[in-house]
Amino acid sequence: MRILFKTSYNDDIRLMKHGGYLFWYALLLIAAFSAPLVLDDFYIGELALVVIFAIAGLGLMVLVGYSGQVSLGHAAFLAIGAYTNALLIQAGTPFLIAFPVAGVVTALSGALISLPANRMTGLYLAIATLAFAIIVEQILVRWESVTGGFQGVAVDAPDLFGYQLWNPWEFYLLCLVVLILVILGVLNILRSPTGRAMVAIRDSEVSAQSMGVNIAKYKTVAFSISAGITGLAGALMGHKFNYLSPDTFNIIISVQLLLMVVVGGLGSVHGAIYGAIFVGALPQFLALARDILPPAIAQTPGLEPGIFGLIMVLFILFEPLGLYGRWRKIKLYFDIFPLYRKATFKRQKAYLKTERMK
């Protein structure tokens, strides 16, 4: 069992709490960066997609896990980020400018939707975001002069100072770098007053207000950060598929994002990553499963969301903490062996607390 001897306040503040963390994460980084050396192009492409999903998942995680607001329409932010980036590049803006600008524009759209959304409790917010996603999709379809409607927009590989990243492994490394930057940014926010304010709003709005937290402002900030991060992921998606059309970002993607959050485990950066890996690997398993299942089941169009749905239901019923929760339990088991008790993580019987009195 590891006991931490803290000698300064900085020990609590910094990200790597002890040497062990540093060692394992360094190892992980080396493995991630050297993946192109061992895997072939197809798998590198899939890995890049996992990384992109992880970025989007982090975006959603910031909103759902930390500030406690549910969004069902995050695909809309993917779309806004993707289209902004693609259209700016088409107009001649260099990638290194278009990319962050796309993030900022998406963040602003997040702030926009949060203006009405701020007055709503969790439930209404979820519905409002769903409505928002549907409206955005319609705008993308009808605003043909800008978005090309159903004809779509072609997107080249990202262009860094004249060098185009057509190689799958180059693109993968770009995504990886973005992911790492986003993770660091999110972790920094969370250990600073802004992050604390967001968590405070989730737990008790009234007392957060009395402590000086401007509720509306921080809800908007959470939404903007979440939207911005997701927008960046969307921009990268555009480059990955080399093509954008309004139905690229459909309800399936929103579901996959949710699946990531549920499966990965809520409220943690690790959770988003695990979730992304799971969601990325799923289509492969699905393809395999399709060969085994009888045709009546295998051919039905609704199979993919159906299976996703089933997985989510099972997780929520049996492992609400997600994969990260399961990992923590396993780690704890080894940490305090042989003192682990089955009841350590068992939730107390929970009763319905009405949300109508907030």
Binding site: T121, L130, G309, I311, P320, E355
Partner: protein, 286 residues
């Protein structure tokens, strides 16, 4: 005038689905995102009885409601009971996922060809003082009104209805009062499933039955929101408002506006008067 009637009829369908939501929400504070899909299942069940087995319309209707009520009851007993007390969004994701599963199952069992069955109202018209109205539309409106009255009497004048309201506001206290909370919740789900089935069967003459029917459930949300989530008459009124607005948008505004009318109205209501027409949410006393 035609527009008005089809608007009200469509609105009644939205209203009925919304009614199903609100019932479940009032009792258990669960938002059932799979409500539209339950309507779809109800319509398919009726199809099996009436269309495939050749049972008489009214009898088939009744059996379908019964089957779906049992289904709703079991759904609560086996799945939903275990998530009470979990954070709101986990439940939201759960019901959305259930919706997906229902759609996939419907595709597997009933195939993906849109179908329909014959009702006493198909292709019949009625002449009301010079205005020609399709009987189908009229049947929807009348059916909705009847159901609403029935439910109203149930909730205000029976012990069960009052018990349902108690369980929703404070579950622990309801237990202490001897209310069999779990059974009541399951009954609510049963009723809600039944109401959705009615919506599905009434709708079937107008639109074909297929696995994607449930998507209008999202618009039914808008109806519930407009009416004030938690108010039964509000749900119906909200449905009517949205139904009529949609038809007007389809007739007078350029293409594409019809699809988003429901959502624009909903966002507007949420911004201006979030509690909807009949407010149900209060501020906590600290």
């Amino acid at each position: 005038m035609q527009i008005l009637v089809s608007g009200i009829a469509q609105g009644c369908v939205y209203g009925l689905i919304a009614l199903g939501f609100v019932l479940i929400y009032k009792a258990t504070e669960i938002v059932n995102f799979a409500q539209g899909d339950m309507m779809m299942l109800g319509a398919f069940t009726a199809l099996s009885f009436i269309g495939f087995l050749g049972v008489d319309y009214w009898l088939g209707f009744f059996f379908a409601i019964l089957c779906m009520a049992v289904f709703g009851y079991l759904l609560d007993k086996i799945v939903l009971r275990y998530v009470i007390g979990q954070p709101q969004f986990a439940i939201v994701i759960l019901t959305i996922s259930l919706g997906f599963i229902f759609r996939a199952l419907a595709g597997i069992f009933w195939g993906h060809e849109p179908s329909s069955f014959n009702t006493p109202f198909t292709n019949q018209i009625v002449n009301l003082g010079g205005v020609i109205i399709a009987q189908e539309a009229l049947s929807i409106i009348i059916g909705t009104v009847l159901l609403a009255v029935l439910l109203y009497i149930f909730f205000t004048h029976t012990k069960l209805g009052v018990a349902m309201q108690a369980s929703s506001q404070n579950q622990l206290a309801a237990y202490y009062m001897g209310i069999p909370v779990k059974v009541i919740f399951s009954l609510i789900w049963a009723i809600s499933a039944g109401v959705s089935t009615v919506a599905g069967v009434l709708l079937s003459p107008i639109s074909l039955i297929d696995a994607e029917m449930g998507f209008m459930g999202i618009k039914a949300f808008a109806a519930a929101v407009v009416g004030g989530f938690g108010s039964l008459p509000g749900a119906l009124l909200g449905g009517a408002i949205i139904g009529i607005s949609e038809q007007l948008a389809g007739a007078y505004l350029p293409a594409g506006f019809k699809q988003i009318t429901a959502f624009v109205i909903m966002l507007a209501v949420l911004t201006i008067r979030p509690e909807g027409l009949f407010a149900q949410i209060q501020r906590k006393k600290v």
